[in-house]
């Protein structure tokens, strides 16, 4: 075969051979001692001469004299490789240790077609803003999953209306977001938990010092749950709620039902207000929502006065400033004077929404907690409580079902009140039979049965027990209309001293505002108030 033929043969064999393309690979380096270090001295020089690494920091060892620490950034065509770094410890005798990661097989062109300004525009397009020192776009080679690489602009940015901080990587040729790396040093973490009633749900938590704390970083406001582990003295004496008292779990699989439900239901309540009404929390400006669980121990119940039992066992209350306290319930086998068992009070969505709605009222109408305005205050909490149940739970009877009972999931049997049948719980369902005594702050809980019944009838329709007047409700499918009507009236229209008659006028007005005069919503609302004797 001639020389020319030999060359042809060589070409063909090469052409037919399978190409061994460079494949991205990361080399993790951990070398301390041994012959490898001798090689590393030469390799570092080689890498440096080839422009593949660049010294970024060099400092003397503060603890071991004669040692020096150097950090080298990996470069590809002069562009830093994200995560590619060598940390070298030197002594007078040479290299002592090398730790780091080098990425191999980078075969991309490191020339960007977009500018740093383009990257900033891409950040803005996401609704984020550059944040801190890392907010200036930096061209980097980003190792991708699977061994590929992308030329990107790295920008540290903060998301709008959020504490979330990310390292955003935008393709330096197309501007597409390639990676969104959460850079908040405390990491939000979604865990799972078992509620008071044994139901499984997700828990929006935060990892902290190898534990998880009940501190929701995914919703716009801070929603945190504090577990006092039955230390009532501490609860009385602390000046504020501090992170050291945050409910916590070792593996993010939460098992304390009261903590799980207090935390998740506070989030659900925020969600309900946001999704239904566009409201951002209690003050419409994302005030933190903080819940306190286990202010007492169940087993200590016999050591406390009746006042403490009534307040911290058989109760839940809104303390103000977005702080909720959830009662512990009764020890198993014990019942209250009405022969009812009490589970952990935080275990009922309607209870949580009810109490948080007192916060909404505090920041809106500030209905005075006395007489009819107080009954309206309580009733509005019941209305929103039931509505959040219908928003998140399937309608029906029994636990974890949406109905018109209040607290029925944790206070058994039957809960505290019924909006459909107030009379069955000893509450008035018509203005003519209202409570007129001075107890219960002039009947704030008792007389809430009257507007509660109006709310129920406006949605579901039916006949009032006392008046016999039939109401044509908007129907369960349109319950959103009545929820919005009452929400609008109670947050935007009512004065602090409103009475039932004012509430009627305000809700009728709200129905006209939202759904037009003479519409089904207005008609249902007006009929409902008439049926309960409020004209």
């Amino acid at each position: 075969m001639s020389a020319r033929s030999s060359r042809l043969m060589a070409f063909l064999v090469l052409a037919a051979a399978l190409p061994a393309l460079a494949q991205g690979r990361e080399e993790r380096i951990a070398t301390a001692g041994g012959q490898d270090l001798v090689n590393w001295t030469a390799r570092l020089q080689q890498l440096s001469d080839a422009g593949q690494i660049r010294l970024t920091r060099s400092q003397d060892d503060a603890l071991v004299s004669g040692r020096r620490h150097q950090r080298f950034a990996q470069l590809h065509q002069g562009v830093p490789v994200f995560g590619g770094e060598l940390v070298v410890q030197n002594s007078a005798a040479g290299v002592v240790s090398v730790f780091g990661t080098l990425y191999e097989g980078i075969d991309i062109d490191a020339r960007a077609t977009l500018t740093a300004d383009d990257a900033l525009a891409a950040v803005a397009k996401l609704g984020s803003k550059p944040f801190g020192r890392g907010g200036r776009p930096e061209l980097v080679v980003l190792p991708l999953d699977g061994g590929a690489y992308a030329l990107t602009y790295k920008v540290r940015a903060r998301k709008a209306n959020s504490l979330a901080i990310s390292l955003l990587f935008f393709d330096a040729r197309t501007g597409a977001l390639v990676k969104d790396l959460n850079d908040l040093k405390s990491q939000s973490a979604v865990g799972s938990g078992t509620g008071v009633l044994g139901d499984r749900k997700k828990v929006s938590a935060r990892s902290s010092s190898s534990q998880f704390v009940a501190d929701d970083e995914l919703r716009p406001p801070r929603i945190a749950t504090f577990d006092f582990h039955g230390d009532l003295n501490r609860f009385f004496t602390v000046a504020d709620l501090f992170d050291q008292d945050l409910a916590r779990d070792a593996d993010n699989a939460w098992t304390d039902g009261a903590n799980v439900d207090a935390h998740t239901y506070a989030g659900f309540t925020y969600d309900y207000y946001f999704k239904r009404f566009g409201r951002r929390g209690l003050n419409n400006n994302d005030i933190p929502i903080r819940s306190v669980t286990h202010p007492v121990n169940r087993d200590d119940i016999f050591n406390y006065s009746n006042d403490i039992v009534a307040q911290f066992y058989l109760n839940a209350f809104y303390l103000g400033d977005g702080i909720m306290i959830y009662g512990e319930g009764l020890p198993e086998g014990y019942v209250d004077l009405a022969d009812r068992s009490w589970n952990y009070v935080a275990g009922a969505l309607d209870v949580v929404t009810h109490e948080l709605t007192h916060g909404v009222t505090d920041f809106t109408s500030q209905l005075i907690y006395q007489g009819e305005s107080g009954a309206l205050n309580e009733s509005f909490s019941d209305m929103m409580a039931t509505s959040s149940e219908f928003y998140f739970q399937p309608a029906g009877n029994g636990s974890l079902r949406a109905d018109y009972l209040i607290g029925e999931d944790v206070i058994t049997p039957g809960g505290l009140r019924s909006m459909a049948r107030p009379h069955d719980y000893g509450d008035p369902d018509h203005y003519s039979v209202r409570f007129t005594g001075s107890g219960d702050n002039g009947g704030v809980h008792i007389n809430s049965g009257i507007p509660n019944q109006a709310f129920f009838l406006a949605i579901e329709g039916g006949t009032n027990r006392v008046s016999g007047i039939h109401v044509t409700g908007v129907g369960a499918a349109n319950r959103e209309q009545i929820e919005k009507v009452f929400y609008r009236a109670f947050t935007d229209l009512l004065p602090a001293s409103a009475n039932f008659k004012t509430a009627r006028a305000a809700t009728v007005q709200a129905a006209r505002d939202l759904y037009g005069a003479g519409g089904a919503a207005e008609s249902a609302v007006a009929q409902a108030w008439t049926a309960v004797g409020v004209n």
């Binding site: 063909l12 052409a15 037919a16 996401l126 590929a148 979604v190 995914l218 919703r219 989030g267 969600d271």
Partner: protein, 242 residues
């Protein structure tokens, strides 16, 4: 004419031809080809997220494409030889995906998203064949079959990135980065060619080949993606005889 040629060719296969006037020992084949027919494959992967699993289902379609087809044939015996060949096809890859991402707050309320993915699918193959050849006038006729080794590389999804804002009921896909999934499977090929010799050392030929291998593309920790590599390829090119 086509019928006559085909008859001659089949006869040649059945009964190897007598020694030609200008016998050759080695033939180089330099040419191109066209991969007929697309190649469809699917990809599914999932990853844990928010206490559930996010899933991505993608469907890809590799287009028809021209390519390189070269080889060398050694006529070891009277009408039997061996050949070593190589083909290279770089095909455009298009696809769509649908993804399902768990909601951060609720079980069983996934958010869904769809998108497109584009890239390349590169098939490089080496073929080692047993060749039956014959001659009819200026026509060289060959048929072959043998083993093939493929190197298949395809841009397949490595993940799907999305943005979300409270209340997180929807997601917006921000990028669908791909990585090179690859495999080097063994397969087979069969084919035939008809060459016309202009002179003692130069000719022109056309060939058809069917090659096939099952590739399992691996990318990161995602499950392997099964792809049918190869297919029907037709082409032609220069023949050099020694």
């Amino acid at each position: 004419m086509r019928t006559t040629t085909l008859a001659l060719f089949l006869t040649t296969l059945a009964v190897p031809a007598l020694a030609a006037d200008d016998p050759y020992k080695v033939k180089l084949l330099l040419g191109g080809g066209y991969q007929l027919g697309g190649s469809d494959f699917d990809q599914t992967f999932s990853f844990p997220q928010y206490q559930e699993n996010a899933t991505v289902n993608a469907a890809y379609d590799a287009d028809k494409a021209p390519g390189l087809d070269v080889g060398i044939q050694w006529n070891a015996f009277r009408s039997i030889g061996f050949s070593l060949g190589g083909t290279l096809y770089d095909r455009d890859l298009t696809g769509t995906f649908d993804a399902s991402f768990p909601h951060p707050f609720f079980f069983n309320q996934p958010r869904t998203a769809t998108g497109d993915v584009t890239g390349k699918m590169k098939e490089t193959a080496g073929h080692l064949n047993l060749v039956f050849f014959g001659k009819s006038g200026n026509l060289d006729l060959s048929a072959w079959g043998g083993v093939s080794i493929f190197k298949v590389q395809a841009d397949i999804l490595s993940t799907v990135a999305y943005s979300q804002t409270y209340p997180y009921d929807t997601v917006t896909v921000t990028s669908a980065p791909t990585g090179k999934g690859e495999d080097t499977p063994l397969g087979f090929n069969v084919g035939a060619s008809v060459d016309y010799r202009f002179s003692k050392s130069i000719g022109f030929g056309i060939q058809g080949r069917f090659a096939r291998a099952k590739a399992k593309l691996a990318l990161g920790e995602n499950p392997e993606v099964e792809v049918d590599a190869g297919g029907l390829q037709v082409g032609g090119g220069l023949r050099i005889y020694f």
